[in-house]
């Protein structure tokens, strides 16, 4: 195997952390570029956190601001939890990408531009009158102009590509430049290109990669070069994983640990579709995928499969959950296991399909007709999706109930290192199907969990009927009895409440007095980093992050009382705050942000400081 030499490290300045953002046209291959640099960073031992930023349109007109696609990565020698507040290095492939992303670049930061794409036509497409390279826009930044297009085209000339194909190699050129800047071996990308591309494209991409690397060195493009040393991660085997991929693996693990078929009924929707794409090749793991005609059919088919003794799972985003609401209510009343994955995105309605938000909490909790309590849990980071998916499946089976798993666009598409678990350490939860006709009652209950028996079609002697009409306690026959209805409503609520019996006590990091930052879901990294920063500054701050939203941990009320103030950051207009206020009569302070973007650490830290 040929290896690409890393640049000498002698002259390298060591830095702790770098935030880099790649931005270009959605056709420029920015996600691939970002993904490659991320893998490479993980392999050299840095901790990483990423934030891809996709435009809503598949291919908005080239060169326009609407078509800009971005990918932000923080790589660090420290244990990090966010993709970073301020960008240190911005790689902009065209004027639209430059002006759209410049506000995120810290003052004095490095900006690398493709100088070949600042012609009059390019500027017009970006709705600019003057070139930002010339009008003072970039004052106060370190600017590196590189003729990326021309040099790329020259580098790949011998591979017989047409002009358009040659142009599309320029992301590899940019990648080569960045590898040089950070003194990286390019082996991981060389291997990737050989695996994923066929000649002449593989050869051309590799030529562009090497040309970028050589160019940066030869023309001494950068005044200084850097190195980010290894992070001290806990010992173990790691891989880089996105939230959607981890969630899919969690479901596969659930099939393994429960011995049940996972039946994933779904309808394509951003940003959840990648879960389907990940699961579809895992049929030999007893995972069946069913692409339904619509969101409603997707959840109904999953419930149908659960009725037959598989574990039905349906994945979607907020608009899909709205459509599935009636069927989820049926799973509540028929007390069948079901997992509903909601990868939240900006709403209402179609909203911001490619952006992140946490505004489906109330929908998850209450978005059904009648008293229809539902177990709700959430994932705090990409790798956490694995554990949460496994837990959602376990609870659905153990308690015979639907479970809502809240992820969001940020967690779903973001990536981080994941310590690969040992399968032997994962819980087993094979269900005990009812087979004994003696004394069988479809709505009798387990004493501890209140779960009803799972008696599936095909079992002799247990023929019975279930459905959406109110059930008589024990017999499950249709009942219009007023007192029975109240009893059943209370039993269904009690069953969900009892899940709290097995939840661990609330973990609080930091101080046990002063301000408590109470978060849920994907704000975890920003909360944690902000709390650290405030504690370093001498403020008394604790941090608790909820995995379970329904039921809430039993000790949460006690925990809240220990603090003078409770701050609840969330990417909505204050939904958890309302729940906490209602449940505990605590005067929680909401910190809300609803811009389709995750919190910056600074935003939370400032809010904590205000409560000092």
């Amino acid at each position: 195997m040929e290896t690409s030499p890393a640049t000498p490290t002698a002259a390298r300045q060591k830095v702790q952390s770098v935030v880099i953002r790649f931005a270009g046209d959605s056709g420029d291959g920015m996600q691939l570029l970002g993904d490659q640099f991320t893998r490479n960073s993980a392999l050299v031992g840095n901790d990483i956190a990423t934030l891809p930023d996709f435009p809503a349109e598949i291919r908005a007109p080239a060169g326009t601001r609407e078509g800009v696609s971005g990918f932000q990565l923080q790589f660090s020698s420290l244990d990090i939890f966010t993709p970073g507040d301020d960008v240190d290095v911005l790689v902009a492939m065209n004027p639209a990408a430059l002006v759209k992303n410049l506000p995120a670049l810290r003052k004095g930061g490095l900006v690398v531009v493709n100088s070949d794409s600042f012609k009059t036509g390019d500027l017009t497409k970006a709705r600019l009158e003057k070139s930002p390279l010339e009008d003072g826009t970039l004052d106060g930044y370190r600017v590196v102009e590189a003729p990326i297009t021309v040099t790329t085209v020259r580098a790949v000339s011998e591979h017989g590509l047409n002009a358009k194909q040659a142009d599309r190699c320029k992301n590899f050129f940019a990648l080569g430049m960045m590898y040089w800047l950070y003194g990286r071996s390019m082996d991981s990308t060389v291997e990737h290109v050989k695996r994923k591309f066929k000649p002449p494209f593989s050869d051309a991409n590799l030529a562009a990669l090497r040309a970028g690397h050589d160019y940066a060195g030869t023309v001494e493009l950068f005044q200084a070069v850097y190195e980010v040393p290894k992070a001290e991660l806990r010992p173990g085997k790691y891989r880089n994983i996105t939230g959607n991929a981890a969630l899919a693996l969690g479901l596969v693990a659930a099939a393994d640990r429960s011995g049940l078929q996972i039946f994933y009924g779904t309808y394509p929707i951003t940003p959840a579709s990648d879960i389907l794409h990940s699961l579809a090749p895992y049929k030999h793991f007893n995972v069946a995928t069913y692409q339904a005609e619509d969101e409603i059919a997707a959840v109904c088919a999953a419930i149908g499969a659960s009725y037959g003794g598989a574990l039905g799972v349906t994945g979607t985003s907020g608009p899909g959950v709205a459509l599935k609401a009636e069927a989820i209510g049926l799973a509540v009343i028929t007390e069948l296991p079901l997992v509903v994955v909601d990868v939240q995105r900006g709403g209402p309605s179609t909203g911001l399909p490619t952006k992140t938000e946490q505004a489906d909490l109330m929908q998850a909790m209450y978005g059904r007709n009648g008293e229809a309590p539902m177990a709700v849990l959430c994932a705090r980071s990409p790798s956490d999706c694995f554990e949460v998916a496994l837990e959602a499946c376990r609870i659905a089976i153990t308690y015979m109930c639907p479970v809502m798993l809240l992820s969001d666009g940020y967690v779903a598409n973001g990536a981080e290192p994941w310590a690969v678990p040992d399968v032997a350490d994962l819980p087993r939860f094979a269900p005990a199907f009812r087979t004994d006709p003696e004394g069988f009652e479809p709505y009798s209950r387990d004493e501890a969990t209140l779960a009803r028996p799972w008696a599936v079609p095909g079992t002799p002697g247990l023929e019975h009927r279930i459905g959406g009409l109110e059930k008589q306690h024990l017999t499950g026959n249709v009942s219009y009895d007023p007192a029975n209805h109240e009893l059943m409503c209370r039993l269904r609520a009690e069953k969900i409440a009892r899940i709290a019996n097995e939840l661990p006590p609330t973990r609080v990091d930091g101080d046990d007095s002063g301000v408590l930052v109470l978060g849920w879901g994907s704000t975890w990294g920003a909360c944690r980093t902000a709390v650290q920063a405030r504690r370093d500054a001498g403020q008394k701050v604790g941090h608790a992050h909820l995995r379970w939203l329904n039921p809430l941990p039993k000790d949460l009320g006690e925990v809240l009382k220990r603090y003078d103030r409770v701050l609840i950051p969330e990417m909505n207009l204050g939904q958890l705050s309302k729940i906490i206020r209602a449940e505990f009569l605590v005067d929680a302070v909401p910190l809300t942000k609803i811009q389709g973007l995750p919190f910056l650490t600074r935003e939370i830290a400032e809010a904590i400081a205000r409560l000092a």
């Binding site: 031992g45 891989r239 499969a305 009725y307 598989a310 049926l330 399968v423």
Partner: protein, 336 residues
């Protein structure tokens, strides 16, 4: 497997009180289905009867089988998930004209398109019964109901044409009071691999009494009903004197008086889609005869078989998945 149990109709009757209106056509359908199920020779626990919402959809409660009364219009979706995952079951969908052609139209056509091996019984009474008498997607134009006091202005669906057009591989029709015919229809549906569909003309004696009386009453029946039998001439009437011949792409009626006439009459062919469509398009209101029986049959792989085949193929090709290996895949590195 051991010998199949012997059942009678009673074995398929649940202990629940049947609560349809006295005189409703659903009673007869229930009795015929129970009788037919007893004759199918498969263990009772293998039946799953899935319904949506409406008068007809109470059906599962009265069957001593596994039953699931789901939500409005979605029964085909539940049944698809169940059958794909559990191909060993005999899955039946009971639905009405409102349930499957209005709110659930999408799921019905996709069930047909996929050809899931599920049997669909559509009770067509051309009215909304459970919500007390609004016009339905099979009500005739001009129908006066509580919600259409000046007459309905909605053109109705023809359920059989919809089924054929959406790729259903077994399309048939029967009538609530044609007891033997209905029993046979049910048994034949069971025998077909792929989606089997029967439109059952059903009388709602409360809100739309006599909707089909023009050809289902004893007096009219013999004259108006064309009993379809594969390979048999398309002849009907008390005296068996009317027959269909081809006329361009359509059908024309001739008087059948001589053996030569009879020889000219078209023979039914369940594999002929064009003929099935022509027969399905006949309109009693225009004086056409009313065909009952099997209109169309097509042999194509059932969805659930293909679904299972892919699961098997993946396991054969890759072996049973090794979870630890899967988790360890990708670019990994070790921190020591």
């Amino acid at each position: 497997m051991s010998t199949n149990p012997v059942y009678s109709k009673k074995d398929f009757s649940s202990d629940q009180m049947v609560r349809w209106c006295p005189g409703c056509g659903d009673y007869s359908i229930l009795a015929q289905v129970q009788t037919a199920f007893a004759d199918l020779g498969i263990p009772r626990e293998k039946f799953a009867v899935i319904a949506g919402i409406g008068c007809s959809s109470r059906f599962p409660y009265y069957m001593q089988t596994y039953g699931f009364h789901t939500i409005h219009g979605r029964a085909p979706a539940f049944a698809s998930g169940l059958k794909a995952s559990r191909p060993d079951l005999s899955v039946w969908v009971v639905t009405g004209d409102g349930d499957s052609l209005s709110i659930g139209g999408n799921h019905l056509i996709h069930l047909f398109r996929r050809n899931v091996d599920v049997n669909v019984m559509l009770f067509n009474n051309r009215i909304y019964g459970l919500t007390k008498g609004q016009y339905s997607p099979t009500s005739e134009i001009g129908k006066r109901t509580k919600s259409s006091p000046m007459g309905s202005i909605d053109a109705p669906f023809n359920p059989l044409l919809l089924a054929i057009g959406s790729g259903c591989t077994y399309v048939s029709r029967s009538v609530d009071v044609f007891t033997k015919h209905l029993q046979e229809s049910v048994k034949k549906m069971h025998a077909h691999k792929g989606t089997s569909f029967v439109e059952i003309y059903q009388n709602c004696n409360i809100f739309n009494d006599g909707a089909w009386a023009g050809f289902t009453d004893r007096g009219a029946r013999d004259e108006k009903v064309l009993y379809l039998e594969d390979g048999q001439p398309l002849i009907w009437g008390k005296a068996q004197r009317h027959g269909f011949v081809t006329n361009g792409f359509g059908l024309a009626v001739i008087e059948v008086n001589t053996p030569e006439d009879e020889a000219r009459v078209l023979r039914h062919d369940v594999s002929n889609k064009v003929l099935a469509q022509a027969l399905a398009a006949l309109d009693h209101a225009k004086g056409d005869p009313v065909p009952v029986g099997v209109f169309y049959v097509e042999d194509r792989p059932a969805y659930d078989e293909l679904f299972q085949a892919q699961l098997r193929e993946a396991s054969e090709k890759n072996g049973k998945g090794d979870l630890q290996k899967l988790l360890n895949q990708g670019d990994t590195w070790v921190v020591s």
